[in-house]
């Protein structure tokens, strides 16, 4: 690991703080989400309870989806798809989060120990970073950003539909509506705080003074971008909670409390 001229320090690192805690907590949190979302995505059941549709199953792109009145039933892939329809759509938000600059830091540290923490050495002999396949594919993040905008728009549409009651009458609001609203807001904030978004709206410019509107937008996105890591976690939790809420309603664990 060390060149011959470096200081001869036999200890691999000399950190005395609990440097292992943040990567361990990150790995545990991400693992919990992966386990939960895998179970829910493959279960292909209990994802709709009028008027709420689980964000994991929206839009529903196969024929084998539950019918949702005015809901996101867009059977683009037709009848041949026999697996859970969630898999079709989850590829997009999964790709967005996998290539996200924050999540990359989180899982490189938490799962790959590359590095586990600052000034704590990696447990491997060779490192090429994102210079070659497959990690060079991280460069397509902006395309997943465009897709994530589309998904966030559809989940916003679902949130509008959540202002109906179970008989599809408008003018209703339940606890589920609040959960969906919070989830949509957090998803938008996370999506718009993306580093690629910051680059696209203005970061790529050399002369802000010639593009005052884009400069303003870049400033706003920059403010959100400073909270990108927090928003990544908040929106991850909110999307899981929104799904869990629909699941609990669908299995009849409780009735959606009505606000009006």
């Amino acid at each position: 690991m060390h060149g011959t001229l470096r200081a001869a320090i036999p200890e691999r690192h000399l950190r005395t703080d609990r440097w292992w805690l943040p990567p361990a907590a990150t790995a545990a949190g991400l693992l919990a989400f992966v386990v939960y979302s895998t179970w829910r995505a493959f279960s292909n059941a209990d994802y709709y309870d009028a008027p709420y549709v689980s964000p994991f199953y929206s839009p529903c792109l196969a024929e084998n989806c539950e019918p949702m009145r005015d809901g996101p039933n867009w059977a683009l892939v037709g009848t041949w798809w026999g697996l859970s329809p969630a898999i079709l759509i989850l590829i997009l938000p999964l790709g967005f989060r996998l290539t996200c600059y924050y999540y990359r830091k989180a899982y490189y540290r938490g799962f790959w120990a590359s590095p586990p923490a600052c000034a704590v050495p990696e447990p491997r002999q060779k490192y090429t970073g994102e210079t070659r396949f497959p990690l060079i594919m991280q460069n397509i993040h902006r395309y997943f950003f465009y897709a994530a905008m589309l998904v966030a728009s559809i989940l916003t549409y679902d949130t509008v539909l959540a202002f109906r009651d179970e008989h599809y009458e408008w003018g209703h609001m339940g606890l589920g509506t609040v959960v969906f609203l919070a989830n949509a807001v957090l998803l938008w904030m996370y999506t718009l705080s993306c580093h690629s978004c910051r680059h696209i709206v203005g970061g790529r410019l050399k002369h802000f003074s010639k593009h005052p509107v884009r400069y303003k937008l870049w400033g706003w996105v920059g403010k959100l971008n400073a909270r990108h890591a927090k928003l990544a976690w908040y929106s991850l939790i909110s999307v899981a909670l929104a799904d869990l809420y629909v699941y609990l309603l669908a299995i009849g664990a409780f009735d959606d409390p009505t606000i009006f």
Binding site: M1, H2, G3, T4, L5, R6, A7, A8, I9, H13, L14, R15, T16, D17, Y101, R104, K105, Y108, R109, S114, P115, C118, A119, V120, P121, E122, K126, Y127, T128, G129, E130, T131, R132, L135, I136, N139, I140, H141, R142, H195, S196, R198, H199, G203, R204, L205, K206, H207, F208, S209, Y215, N225, A226
Partner: protein
């Protein structure tokens, strides 16, 4: 309020060395560099340490304290428990010269590899005019004091000596970003594509944005978010985004 603190300080040179134990007086308000100076004055007159301003602005006294890359002059003793053993070692990523002094010439070699600011042909000295909003991004990077703590902590070179040839390190990738964002830099006209060379010649792809450079920066520069990631996005514009490429071809302009 004074107390006796236990220190372990690395002493040696390129031939070898090790941690030596010291018990030394600490007074209220002192920083680690004060204690190293007291060691020089009372117990180890030949202890080598590089320092200058004692104000966190010259970037000379970079070292590692309890395993974390830090400036000796900006690390207050009050952050440690009185009973704690404080370990001070030279920066690990660079060759050691003696005791806490390292040979940081790797950084100067990397600095020379970055093409300098290219003056615009149509403007003479004294004719440069730039809007504040066009230069404020670069100004953040100009706060760099070149302490090289980011270079020291970056795992790409810290853990893999062989990557030094291919990787400029966060400080100098930030320099590329600074020049690429400079409103008057005429590199394009001179045939220098900073976005492309950031990746192809200065090793931007090695950076896996784990943000240790940002964590250790004593100037609080958001190296990863404001320099390295924007530079990665600019490299994507050049190399991996067919829409941007097509758009630029159609409109026949850069940015």
């Amino acid at each position: 309020m004074s107390y006796q603190a236990h220190f372990k300080v690395w002493r040696g040179d390129a031939e070898g060395g090790g941690l030596r134990d010291f018990t030394v007086e600490v007074n209220e308000g002192e920083v680690v560099l004060d204690i190293i100076h007291r060691l020089q004055a009372t117990q180890a007159p030949d202890l080598a340490v590089r320092w200058n301003c004692k104000a966190g602005k010259c970037g000379s006294c970079s070292a590692e304290i309890n395993g974390r890359p830090r400036l000796l002059c900006m690390t207050r003793m009050s952050v440690f428990e009185e009973s704690e053993t404080i370990t001070v070692t030279p920066m690990r990523a660079f060759p050691v010269m003696r005791d806490l002094v390292t040979d940081v010439s790797f950084n100067y070699a990397k600095a020379r590899e970055i093409p300098a600011f290219v003056p615009p042909a149509e403007l003479g000295p004294g004719e440069y005019r730039m809007a504040q909003q066009d230069v404020e991004r670069s100004q953040e990077f100009r706060k760099c004091i070149e302490c090289f703590l980011c270079q020291d902590t970056c795992h790409v070179v810290r853990d893999f000596e062989e990557n030094k040839a291919a990787f400029a390190g966060p400080r100098f990738l930030m320099r590329v970003a600074e020049l690429d964002m400079h409103p008057l830099d005429a590199a394009d006209e001179a045939g220098i594509d900073r976005k492309r060379t950031a990746q192809e010649e200065h090793g931007l792809g090695y950076c896996n944005i784990t943000k240790c450079c940002t964590e250790v920066c004593p100037e609080g520069i958001r190296i990863t978010d404001n320099a390295l990631i924007p530079l990665k996005e600019r490299a994507v514009d050049r190399k991996y985004d067919p829409l941007v490429w097509l758009g630029n071809k159609i409109r026949r302009r850069g940015q």
